[in-house]
Symmetry: C2
């Protein structure tokens, strides 16, 4: 009997760290034990009733649609981006079942190795490996994540070329996952200038865009460097429809962009065909942004901001160091002071202690490409809003969500765990 | 300005031939012109109201679920296969957004090059190319498609090894796309015996299983060769939900199967996360097969059988040679007699003449890996059932669907075109 072991290395991927952690914690919770679940980047909000109604109304749509998405969803996506200062025509849009498969197709199709900020979202590096590409890691600045430090980027590109690598694609994320920060406009300009000088294509992952605390302060690389920036986004975060799988990307309006589009449609047509049609129709409604959708997104943004800001305050008070949040629902604390007090050799040790001793589920920095020894982790506050839709609606409408007992208790359990590990801010 | 042209060869895939043809024909139809659209393998039936209701009832489900699919959908899928003589536990199931992405993940993860019957479905070879694998083509027998001729298979495997290729995976399809035939049990046993002798893994694509004219006569390789057969199927054909994107695969209940499962979940978690959650819930309802679903599938099977059988009769009468249909909604005629009468150098020429001169849309055999010079094409009869759901329901309930004017007219236009090209059966 032959075994399957001889598969090429690039297919020996473990399950995505975020999805694996989520399934592990859900299994503990299923035994009736309470876990403060901070390990998964799900938006944690109930479905807007009008969106559920739009899906229901589309429940008889069973045709395969166009590979790039229906005209309606592409027009709505183009309008969505145009209203955000990135003028877009429908034929610049490709819709897919999530931005994840689109990112995978992009990393597969675009030439060259992949330059990633360290830390960055777990799946960029895993997708690069699956696509047979090398990853060139570049540290982020002290005060923000989501983009590499411009000087470090330039050094890394020179070194990569010297080593025979072929850096081709830079991925940036704003607001950032995992740090929850939003790089300022000047930094984005500097990074785009380096990308231009070195002939990189920029993929700008803007899935958290509408959750920026100050959306007007965001600068998209698509504005600074339009001819070589590809934007990806989707419905998973601000509109809380992760499980529905709908994302889209925007291709530059250039001749090279048109070639790229053809290649992406080729891969899409052989890997996934199209996003679920009823979901596309509901997405068209959402991306047209009627009043109730805009209001829902605003309420969600406020809730995320309130809770993540309070979590940040508590963490710092408990002795962690942590960048200030600028959007989304993540924090990326560093518990270095705990190293002296507790036997911890790695971020993975730290995450394990947090889960097994304190029943707090987080994801260690190593999952994001960070130094395995660093005592850093990513935490998402978005699964604290409630155990059911009644609680989640209450949180959404609450004037003081961090005072709701289920949110306050969870944040306190986190703060106590951190305080216990670090000895507190005065420890 | 760098161009994107330097991408590796394996990413230079054109759009899937079936999806591209569908989009081209839809564009002609959108101008108001009538085209007999036989080029696309969509089931062409309306959504069962109970299925639409199941989707609507699940419209508030927005979580990311487990990568392999919800417990409910995996249990329902296991029951579905167990009732078909392939005993299956839920943890042998992985659900995905269509069987297409699952097939892609399988071809990526399983070691070795890919052995394909010639002709076979357009996407197997394209996916193999995307996964960086070589394709070893083996002709099908005279009387049936879906499996390679066993003797030719053995010769091809010996030759491939001699050439340094590493045949690892054999893909078979029953009922077959493109030939519409169903290999008999003895042939399946012979092919499995060769696969076993040469250490191949068999992927058995059973997406058309419930549309076999005689389902009891079908023999799955999973029954003959259980320890190394992977079954793929989905909701796109018998339950007519292609646009909803829900498929699943069954992994052998072996230690190697468990390893394979882990690798597949790894790829799935980095490429697509999970199928749309409301669709998974509706799929659970469908795969439990309540009475109304069984009745709907039976009616659909009868309609497909009646129309494809009549189309076969007309084609043969008009001078084509064509294997007899055994299931599904495809035929794979050969118009070799037309070569003497019309200036046709290839199957692509033939498809082009059929579309531009006769307004009949088909897909040439070359798209399925067949000899480009052969005057063969695949035609699907399933898009003839109606221009809207009222007509489609009427076709489903009709005692004599081939007498319905919109179906009869389309079949006659096809027959007239073939007769004109070949000179008729006496031409």
């Amino acid at each position: 009997m032959l075994s399957y072991q001889s598969a090429p290395v690039r297919t020996g991927l473990p399950q995505s760290a975020t999805l694996a952690a989520n399934e592990r914690i859900r299994a503990i919770q299923a035994t009736g034990e309470s876990v403060v679940h901070l390990a998964f980047g799900e938006a944690g909000l109930p479905v807007l009733p009008e969106v559920a109604a739009a899906l229901s109304a589309a429940a008889t749509e069973n045709s395969y649609g166009p590979t790039a998405g229906t005209e309606a969803v592409r027009a709505a996506a183009a309008g969505y981006l145009s209203r955000r200062g990135v003028p877009t025509e429908p034929d610049q849009i490709i819709a897919g079942p999530g931005s994840k498969p689109l990112l995978y197709a992009l990393l597969t199709v675009l030439p060259g190795d992949i330059v990633l900020p360290r830390p960055s979202w777990v799946s960029y590096a895993a997708q690069a490996a699956l696509a047979g590409k090398e990853v060139i890691w570049v540290d982020v600045p002290e005060h923000t994540g989501g983009v590499p430090d411009p000087e470090a980027l330039e050094n890394a590109l020179l070194e990569a070329r010297w080593k025979g690598q072929r850096p081709g694609v830079l991925v940036v994320t704003s607001p950032d996952n995992p740090t929850g920060t939003t790089p300022d406009a000047e930094l984005v300009r500097q990074v785009c200038a380096v990308a231009e000088r070195y002939g990189l294509v920029v993929i700008s992952d803007e899935i958290y865009r509408d959750l920026a605390h100050d959306p007007d302060a965001l600068l998209s690389p698509a504005t600074v460097f339009p001819e070589r920036t590809i934007v990806t986004t989707g419905l998973s975060k601000a509109t809380a429809l992760g499980g529905w799988r709908l994302g889209f990307c925007r291709i530059p309006a250039t001749r090279e962009g048109a070639q790229l589009r053809e290649r992406l449609v080729g891969v899409a047509s052989e890997v996934w065909s199209n996003p679920a049609m009823p979901v596309q129709t509901a997405a068209g409604y959402l991306l047209d942004e009627p009043t109730e959708v805009r209001e829902y997104v605003r309420m969600g943004r406020d809730l995320h901001r309130r809770v993540v800001t309070e979590a940040h305050r508590l963490l710092v008070a408990a002795g962690a160091s942590c960048r200030s949040p600028g959007g989304g629902f993540y924090l990326y604390p560093d518990l270095e002071p705990a190293r002296r007090r507790v036997r911890l050799r790695s971020g993975m040790d730290l995450a394990e202690v947090l889960l097994t001793k304190y029943r707090v589920g987080v994801l260690c920095g190593e999952a994001f490409g960070d130094d395995p020894r660093a005592l850093r982790f990513r935490m998402a506050t978005s699964l604290l809003y409630g155990a059911n839709d009644v609680q989640r609606w209450e949180a959404l409408h609450s004037a003081d969500p961090v005072a709701l007992p289920w949110i306050a208790d969870a944040l306190n359990r986190l703060a106590e765990a951190v305080d216990d590990l670090t000895g507190g801010s005065t420890g």
